[in-house]
């Protein structure tokens, strides 16, 4: 009896769209909430390193004197902790996942504009 019910379901499936997608030919669709990867608007960042301290997987390194902010995208667990903790709101969670890579490398961002330049601009 059960086989006939499932047979009906299977027959119906022949006339429906497939439940799967032909990835990567068809791009995956993400929702607005999807937790993919972290990006930092480095020029807005104050390099306060709260994100680095709060990160449960220690994926973020901040070097204030060197003006660099770096993240290991493969260590990041997309938990949103840094985004919530950021006082400047410069961290954003993108829906796109980190692209595959053959090596695990830090993604380093260098802050170009800084307090010194602002001070010079103010003096002028």
């Amino acid at each position: 009896m059960g086989s006939f019910v499932l047979g009906g379901v299977t027959f119906g499936n022949l006339f429906k769209k497939p439940a799967t997608k032909m990835y990567p030919v068809v791009a995956p669709t993400y929702t607005a909430m999807t937790k993919g990867s972290i990006v930092n608007d480095i020029e807005a960042c104050s390099l306060c390193s709260i994100c680095a301290k709060k990160c449960p997987s220690l994926a973020i390194n901040v070097d204030k004197p060197g003006k660099t902010w770096e993240i290991d995208p493969f260590a990041c667990i997309q938990c949103y902790t840094c985004v919530r903790a950021c006082p400047k709101d410069c961290l954003t969670m993108l829906a796109q996942y980190t692209a595959p890579s053959t090596t695990k490398e830090y993604k380093t961002l260098v802050k170009t504009g800084g307090d010194d330049e602002k001070a010079v601009a103010a003096a002028e």
């Binding site: 009896m1 059960g2 019910v5 499932l6 379901v9 999807t34 667990i77 997309q78 949103y80 969670m93």
Partner: protein, 362 residues
């Protein structure tokens, strides 16, 4: 009397989903004794409480298990809230139960797929997993993650799910219900499924009580034990809750209990969505657990009762955290049902209790 032979089974075996080893003592084709051994994937997560503060540790508890990940974060948060005397907003309690019941639906659908796969019913396996995918889509749309949700922490839940989104979830579940009832009919009435499950791995009520088994494994042996009955957290807002029990005690009974629990979970979600109050979903948590404070809580995971214990030491790091997972409790019953079974039924018997060895190893 036939000669006794010991057959090693696992931890790597084509039919085993998880790393557990059995020394099967067999006489001809019959298993007379099964000696289990675990410890292949032990991660020492409980010890990590000394290195991660109590609010960060929730990320660790979520990774105890990939299937009941939300349940573990909920159980941990609940324990710490008792430890620190935090009152969670009502809306957060409702949302937690809704997410937890969705986890149960997807866990049971996953098990039904795996069980169908184990007895070679590939079509049913794929139908179960196709339906399960919708639950994962709900998770992705509401919390951002498909498996690890990172939605719950001490004090509530991070993201509010709007009332419109909740209505959308109910619509999806109701739409799913029709397809799911067809699957259940197949699962419970199909001749090939019945011939593979009926009478296999029988556990009597007395044996279930003696071996302290929990969850659907116990309920299939007519032990009406479900932590949801006690009204912990948001379960207290339900109008009525009766655990689903079955008198069969065999693999078919366990399949039946799980199949019906999916419908029960859908009913729970529908009821809570109709009653959910508005308000905050997270309270700000300050301070640390007091020195010497202890707390314990219980939660009904998809696989059964899970017990949590926490001890504070005055700092933001806990002194001790312990989890007793359902599968750890069910291993005794599992060895019991393996005694006297046919050697060809061993994989299926192991599967019918829905083991999660990685949970057990923590």
């Amino acid at each position: 009397m036939a000669e006794r032979t010991v057959i090693p089974f696992g931890p790597q075996h084509p039919v085993l989903p998880e790393p557990i080893h059995f020394d099967l003592v067999v006489e001809d084709e019959t298993v007379v004794e099964a000696i289990p051994q675990i410890g292949f994937v032990h991660r020492g997560l409980e010890q990590l409480v000394k290195k991660k503060d109590y609010s960060t540790f929730v990320s660790v508890t979520e990774r105890i298990c990939g299937i009941c990940s939300f349940g573990h974060s909920l159980g941990y948060s609940q324990t710490i809230e008792i430890l620190m005397g935090i009152e969670v907003p009502q809306r957060a309690e409702y949302l937690r139960v809704i997410l937890h019941e969705l986890s149960r639906v997807h866990s049971h659908l996953l098990w039904m797929g795996l069980a169908a796969d184990a007895f070679g019913f590939e079509n049913l396996f794929m139908q179960c997993w196709r339906i399960r995918e919708r639950i994962l889509d709900i998770f992705e749309a509401t919390t951002g993650g498909r498996v690890i949700l990172s939605a719950c922490n001490v004090g509530g839940v991070y993201h509010d799910i709007t009332n419109e989104e909740l209505k959308g979830i109910v619509d999806v579940l109701k739409g799913m219900g029709n397809e799911y009832s067809k699957l259940t009919k197949t699962f419970l009435n199909d001749g090939s499924v019945k011939s593979r499950l009926i009478g296999v791995g029988y556990l009597s009520k007395q044996d279930a009580i003696d071996n302290c088994v929990v969850g659907p494994f116990a309920r299939a042996s007519n032990v009406a034990e479900d932590i949801r009955c006690y009204g912990f957290g948001g379960y207290g807002y339900l109008s009525a809750f009766e655990p689903i029990v079955c008198e069969d005690g065999d693999g078919y009974g366990r399949a039946k209990v799980r199949a019906l629990e999916v419908l029960q979970s859908i009913d729970i979600i529908v009821e809570l969505v109709s009653k959910i109050p508005d308000g905050e979903v997270m309270v700000k948590v300050k301070g640390s657990p007091e020195d010497g404070s202890v707390s314990a809580s219980r939660l009904e995971q998809p696989r059964g009762e899970c017990f949590y214990y926490a001890k504070g030491n005055g700092s933001k790091f806990l002194e001790r955290f312990r989890i007793r997972t359902p599968t750890a409790q069910n291993i005794g019953g599992m060895t019991k049902i393996l005694q006297g079974c046919d050697i060809a039924d061993v994989p299926l018997n192991i599967l019918t209790i829905d083991p999660c060895i990685s949970c057990t190893e923590r």
